[in-house]
């Protein structure tokens, strides 16, 4: 079992508040990814769960048992650190065995666990080497192995891939996903990389400035971001956000107008909006298409076209200096040339009110 | 694994075994202590032994030194001593003229102060010049630099007693120095019983013993000066002497200041090698303050611990001023001037 419940967690260092009343429920066997920009408090939250730090206020429960004042060692969790934190003076085998020896596990059992973990993570050939003799990827596996042999209630991973090069990161990411599937143990994973979050998570927690912005399954966050921050944070390239004015609003539809001749009716609950209100319209670059200039399209001047082969990332500028990025599934977009016409499909639009909150359809 | 390596590993394990065993035994009560008191309690535990020793043998003496200096008598335990207020200080500082030791009530103390002052001036000057010259030479492209560095460093590790005895042996009547003098047709001399030569010997021997240390500090400073500065000066056709005065010396100044102040601090405390070399003699011509404190406090028949303590506090004040100077200088030089 590995159900972790956080209730109203606060953490302050002196006068500086790092976490503001975090409530979170992590289900057994779930892969939960904490994502957010650096300094948002996600690593602090992970250290609180680990028991390496104490909350100023609030309650942490594991499987219904209050562990707020239980030491790290006794929580039955395992952690993978960003720097791997392998003991440099011990061999890989000793690194794996250290935690088990500390709980006085019989030697035979320790050996069996190490053998199993080494086989699973393919680190058997260098069990007798020191961490200094390993490559970054190998160290990473050892760090995971050290967590795996403990057979923990839950794994805590603090940006485990951030020290790997791009290629290795992708393959290790896939292996981590496979490992999670196989062990079916709760994992709490901290990253600032939204791609990692999207690919790995059962659920994502987006954090900013010590607060949770949104919790949900990856596609839910992508398709229905709860606010401007989540909209901007999830998805690459970032969602385009355009300032618009409400021209009419009803219970099922809001009509807005914006720069570059933008005029669209978005399916949304407009009861909270009224004529003339400022709002923000969001549309993802991948949802924009080239148009023939018919109604509902906008005019924009191309400033940069990045040809990636199957698609072209077009950076354009609209009236009022509003930038727009579009990913077009075609080649041959000219930088020098007359303004182009882009279609923004209304059914793919997201509407946010002046406070930055999503105006959902009813 | 070879036989020797196996044996070595086995011996290592055998030696380590009791220590490891002891450490694991210690761990058991400490775990409960940790559970009971948290990391704060553990910090206290780790600090305790060092701070206890430090407190008993450094802080307590430091504080009661002031009480000592306000008492008289020959007893060492504070409760057996009589309170006399500032009398000891009055006695030390009672002088007709501070320049003439004969007019002082405690003339021996002022003799020691004068001697120490002379010693400090001569030793600091000689030390700075000699170690600077050596560092400059070692900083040149010299074949076997680390060998030469070691040559000059070697006496630093010798004990003051050994240093004193070596030189006493060389400077004695039938010694090596007189052999050299004799071979050059000169008149052998009793170096250590002559006021001037005994003083010169004390200064030179202490420079001999410690110059390697200061050379090392200066050499580190010289090597930290970027090479390209010299190359740029060479491109400009700067004369070597000008390079020294305008580039080397200003950039070396922080290290040089540290060396001067450190030498100063240690010269004020001069004791052991001079004591072994000359025993303070001839007469009192090489009696220095620390030896005065030692003799008045312990060795002399007329011992007076209160007076020694007052003298040591006066010397301590001088050292505090010098150390604060050093910290200021050291911070500017970004060099830690730690010493024992």
């Amino acid at each position: 079992m590995g159900r972790i419940t956080l209730t109203n967690i606060n953490r302050a260092f002196g006068k500086m508040k790092i976490l503001h009343g975090i409530d979170l429920d992590v289900g057994d066997g779930e892969m939960l990814v904490l994502v957010g920009p650096s300094g948002c408090g996600k690593s602090t939250l992970l250290r609180l769960i680990a028991g390496l730090d104490q909350p100023t206020d609030g309650k942490i429960e594991i499987d219904g048992v209050d562990v707020t004042n239980v030491s790290a060692a006794q929580r039955g969790l395992a952690m993978v650190f960003q720097s791997y934190a392998l003991y440099p003076h011990m061999s890989v085998r000793q690194n794996l065995a250290f935690g088990l020896e500390n709980i006085r596990m019989p030697k035979a059992e320790i050996d069996a666990r190490i053998t199993e973990a080494a086989r699973m993570l393919e680190i058997a050939p260098y069990l007798d080497r020191r961490p200094g003799q390993l490559s970054g990827g190998q160290k990473q596996r050892v760090a995971i192995g050290r967590a795996v042999v403990r057979n923990p209630t839950a794994f805590l991973l603090d940006e485990p891939l951030s020290n790997l090069d791009a290629e290795l990161r992708i393959s290790t990411r896939a292996e981590l996903a496979a490992l999670h599937k196989r062990l079916a143990t709760t994992m709490i994973y901290v990253t600032h990389d939204q791609v990692e979050a999207m690919t790995l998570a059962d659920r994502i927690v987006v954090m900013r400035s010590g607060r949770i912005e949104q919790v949900g399954r990856p596609l839910d966050l992508y398709n229905a971001p709860a606010n401007l921050f989540v909209a901007g944070f999830i998805g690459a390239p970032r969602m385009n956000l355009l300032p618009v004015k409400v021209r009419s609003a009803s219970g099922t539809e809001v009509h807005v107008e914006g720069p570059g001749g933008l005029s669209a009716s978005v399916a949304a609950d407009g009861t909270a909006l009224k004529l003339g209100d400022e709002a923000t319209l969001g549309i993802r670059p991948h949802d924009i298409e080239l148009s023939d200039g018919s109604k509902g399209s906008v005019e924009a001047r191309v400033t940069l076209a990045e040809a990636l082969g199957p698609e072209t990332v077009v950076h354009a500028i609209m009236a009022g200096d509003n930038k727009l990025v579009a990913v077009l599934r075609r080649q041959g977009v000219e930088t020098q040339g007359p303004p182009i016409s882009l279609a923004l499909p209304p059914e793919r639009m997201h509407l946010f009110d002046a406070a930055g909150l999503r105006v959902a359809s009813r | 694994m070879t036989g020797a390596a196996t044996l070595k590993a086995w011996a290592g394990a055998a030696l380590a075994a009791p220590v490891v065993w002891l450490a694991s035994i210690v761990n058991v009560p400490l775990k409960s202590w940790q559970r009971a008191t948290g990391t704060g309690g553990m910090a206290a535990f780790f600090l305790a032994p060092n701070m206890a020793i430090f407190g008993i043998f450094v802080l307590v003496p430091l504080v009661i030194n002031f009480f000592y200096s306000a008492t008289s008598g020959t007893a060492y335990f504070l409760q057996d001593r009589t309170y006399v207020g500032l009398e000891q200080y009055q006695r030390l500082l009672d002088c007709g003229s501070y320049l003439d030791t004969a007019t002082c009530r405690e003339d021996l103390f002022w003799k020691a102060v004068h001697n120490t002052g002379l010693f400090v001036v001569a030793q600091v000057a000689l030390m700075t010049v000699v170690s600077m010259a050596t560092a400059l030479i070692l900083n040149r492209e010299i074949v076997g630099r680390s060998f030469w560095r070691a040559v000059f460093f070697f006496p630093v590790l010798l004990s003051p007693v050994v240093t004193g005895l070596i030189w006493r042996w060389i400077l004695q009547r039938q010694g090596l120095l007189n052999l050299i003098v004799h071979n050059r047709g000169g008149e052998p001399h009793n170096w250590l019983t002559d006021r001037f030569w005994a003083f010169t010997a004390a200064v030179s021997v202490s420079v001999w013993a410690h110059m390697g240390f200061y050379t090392l500090i200066l050499l580190a400073g010289l090597q930290a000066i970027p090479r390209d500065l010299y190359e740029a000066a060479e491109m400009d056709g700067t004369k070597p002497a000008r390079v020294f005065w305008r580039i080397t010396l200003p950039l070396l100044m922080p290290n040089l200041l540290v060396v001067i102040v450190l030498t100063l601090i240690r010269a004020v405390q001069i004791f052991d090698e001079a004591y072994v070399l000359t025993g303070g003699g001839p007469g009192t011509s090489t009696l220095y303050i620390t030896q005065y404190i030692y003799e008045i406090g312990f060795a002399s028949l007329l011992r007076n611990p209160g007076l020694a303590s007052a003298a040591s506090i006066l010397m301590g004040l001088v050292l505090v001023v010098l150390t604060l100077l050093q910290l200021k200088v050291g911070r500017r030089g970004e060099r830690k001037g730690a010493r024992e």
Partner: protein
Amino acid sequence: MSGVMTFLTRRRGGRGWHWTDIVSWLWLLGGLVIMFGPAVWLVGSSFKTPAQLAEFPPTILPYVSQQAKVEGYDKPLTLYRVKLPDGSTKVLAEVRRVGIVAQMVDPQAPNDIVKVNIADREPMREIGFATENYAEPFVHFDFLRYLRNSVFVTVMATLITLLTNSMAAFALSKYKFRGRDLTMLLIVGTLMVPLSVILVPLYSVVGAVGLLDSLWGVILPTVATPTGVFLLRQYMLTIPDELLDAARMDNASEWQIYWRIVLPLAAPALAVLAIFSVVWRWNDFLWPLVVLSRKELYTLQVGLNTYAGQLNVQWHYILAMTVVTMIPVILVFVFLQRYITSGIAGTGLK
């Protein structure tokens, strides 16, 4: 050979010799003589017999007089080359000496005593080492005991220094607690309190805890070195905190973290401190001199000074024992010099 010379005389940029090069080399060679010369002279002298030590001018190398066993005499007799009145020279053995006249015998004809003016003879000598200078002080004087005391003081003080300083440095570098900076300040602050300033009160404190005239009284006041705490703390600050957190997740107690993680990782700094501590404690003089009054507790340094301070200095023993006292430090110098010089260059520690 010319290759070697070119190598030894090469200069920056391959230019010719400059007067500063000559000055430099003179300085270095002069330094070599002045720095090593006295020690070499000491070692050489330590092998000379008392008679030879009293000679002037002294010889460079140690010699011993040749002796021969002569029939009719219990002890071996010293041999001399004697110029006889007839102008010939002969090797004779001295039986006894009265004033300037020596009674001598021919080893081949031991019954005839020849009287010789001592100006007409020269001792027969060969290079030899008076090793009894070394053996005697150990056997007949207390030097073996002094040596044992010195070793005991050095080893115990170094072990305790390493343990207590590293524990304190661990707390000061890896824990946050109230008063940490104050503690550090206090420790660094006492760097400016040398022994000579607290000599009298320290003596009474050591007396009050009953350690006067005991080796522990020599050891304990020296072990809480501020330098050691400072050096180790600086080093431990470079050990990443994540390693400690990893160990905490691995069920390690704080003691185990200190013992099994931090201590092994601080080994380079511990080695430097150990070397310094050995040299400091071995060389300590003033404090043992004050604390120890019973002769059998003297350390080598105090013992040496005492014997060298006697009216009738037995230089042949003193010199030999000085060499013995030098040996550990020479060993440290030869094998560990690199650690020391880097330690000093890094921290200004001595």
